[in-house]
Amino acid sequence: MINYIYQLVNPQFISVKYEDTNIDSNVLIRPRYMSICRADQRYYFGNRDLKTLSEKLPMALIHECCGEVLTDKSGSFKPGDYVALIPNIPTKEQSGIYENYREGSHFLSSGYDGFMCEFVSMPPDRLVPVTGIPMQTATMCELLSVAIHAINRLDKIAHQYRDTIGIWGDGSVAYVIACALKKKMPKSKIIVVGKNTRKLSRFSFVSETYLTYNIPNNLKIDHAFECAGGEGCYDAIRDIIHYIRPQGSVGLLGVSENYVAIDTRHVLEKGLTLIGCSRSGREEFLEAAQMMKCQKTRRRLGAIIYEDEPVKSVDDIHRVFATDLNTPFKTVFEWRL
């Protein structure tokens, strides 16, 4: 069956690829709702180095998506079921290594076509049911699964004290980490440090929020998540190292295009553990879908969604990326192409 794949061929240029997609063995899904990640934005506006762009494009963007099952010959799903799509495609088993870090794993929308297609063909184990969860919120399943993955990793590695957890950053990743922490570690005090008062005001459910220049001198945290990314990485990691107690663990989630200098003297002196975290796998998607069954969590996640008009043409694709530049958190849209 002929599939329409909406590929970014050059920054801000979308072209349609027509492909005869094999529909025999996989589940066919019609993408219904999508949300834009900062990684999509970097490709769309060409904010990656030229070598990376030339290697990865043309490519369909978007890895945060939920859709409707059209057909499934495996019998795992019924037509009409709503599912979240897992963009990580592991190619081999490797005991003890998470599927998202395994060599040979593919990530859709990073070198492989993402979900901006007429329909998507995927194995049943790359789909997680989200029936009963509003589609707009269900698109956040991927981001929530990334947060859960980071929390689970830190929880596994870190010492037993969980009194105060610090989150550096005031964007979507920081917000979703805070939501997931509130659910998974309800007894911990959550501190969020950011640069934007209006964005910090959305973190109404955490214990304290501080502006970066106004952190109390006596603040002590047991563990931390760095979710600043970009130019903010350096300051965030420096501050975390300063405020964290000895032997704390730090989950690093912020992506930076540049090398980031780290105060290794104090990392060694305090015996800190730095844990790199990116993406997620099936287990975390299942946990995210389960977590979204809680109305309170759904409402919290829904509070950072801006729903743009549906995408019905290529011009609309350009429009949602432009909208996202002025959206403080997540831009979500219905996919009607």
Binding site: M1, I2, Y18, E19, I23, T71, K312, R336
Partner: protein, 239 residues
């Protein structure tokens, strides 16, 4: 109920590259009609899909359905007629035989077999428009200037391009409405019908426009066929 109707009653005489009707020619790895049928089958809104097939090619079509392992429960065959509208009404007769009397809300989405690039969005929009308005046609704004000539020698008129559209398919209807209008047409009116939407237009029923896609092309000529093959990355047709 919502029925899909794939119109494949033609004999492919305009292609001159094969004795086989054009809907059976290969596009990448499958016949054109299989691509079209797969897309219709994938649209979950359809209760059944009818294929209006030229009687001489009925057994060939049956073989193809088995070969490509399609959902046979959902697919029905109907004999193609002399004209496009004859094929549509043959299909409507078959629907009545298979599912009983046509009901007030029954919808038919008619589509050319040789438009395999139809999208799920176009099918969904057609269904919605047919339910809401009773009749719709899929169109794209005309890009070329349309020139009218009554004698084929001189220009009679150049209509304003802004109000011109190129008709594609699907064309979708409330079945009862379509039947009722068709039965009221005089034989002379029926003789000049080129498509089913005209039945409604001639009877004064508004036909809503559904936005098509330039790529939802009709594979009619050798050039169309080559363009379609290039689009899906296939090989050139041999003359």
């Amino acid at each position: 109920m919502i029925y899909g109707a794939i119109l494949a009653g033609g004999s492919g005489t305009r292609m001159h590259i094969s004795s086989m009707p054009k809907q059976f020619l290969p596009l990448d790895k499958k016949p054109i009609i299989i691509h079209t049928l797969e897309k219709m089958l994938t649209c979950t809104r359809f209760d059944a899909i009818y294929l209006g097939i030229h009687p001489s090619w009925m057994s060939h079509m049956t073989d193809l359905l088995e070969k490509y392992d399609l959902d046979l429960d959902k697919i029905h065959l109907a004999p193609g007629g002399e004209s496009r509208n004859d094929t549509i009404f043959n299909i409507i007769d078959e629907i009545a035989k298979d599912f009983g009397a046509i009901e007030d809300n029954d919808i038919i989405v008619t589509h050319d077999a040789v438009r395999p690039f139809v999208t799920l969005r176009i099918l969904e929009d057609n269904i919605e428009a047919a339910i809401k308005f009773g009749a719709c046609d899929t169109v794209v704004p005309a890009t070329d200037t349309i020139v009218k000539s009554h004698d084929g020698v001189d220009i009679s008129e150049i209509p304003d391009r802004k109000i011109m559209y190129q008709g594609q398919t699907p064309q979708s209807f409330n079945i009862k409405l379509l039947k009722e209008h068709y039965s009221k047409l005089k034989p002379s009116e029926k003789a000049i019908l080129t498509d089913a939407c005209k039945i409604c237009v001639m009877r004064g029923t508004p036909v809503k426009l559904v936005e098509g896609e330039i790529s939802n092309m009709k594979i009619t000529t050798v050039t169309d066929y080559r363009i379609a093959q290039v689009l899906v990355g296939g090989e050139r047709a041999s003359d």
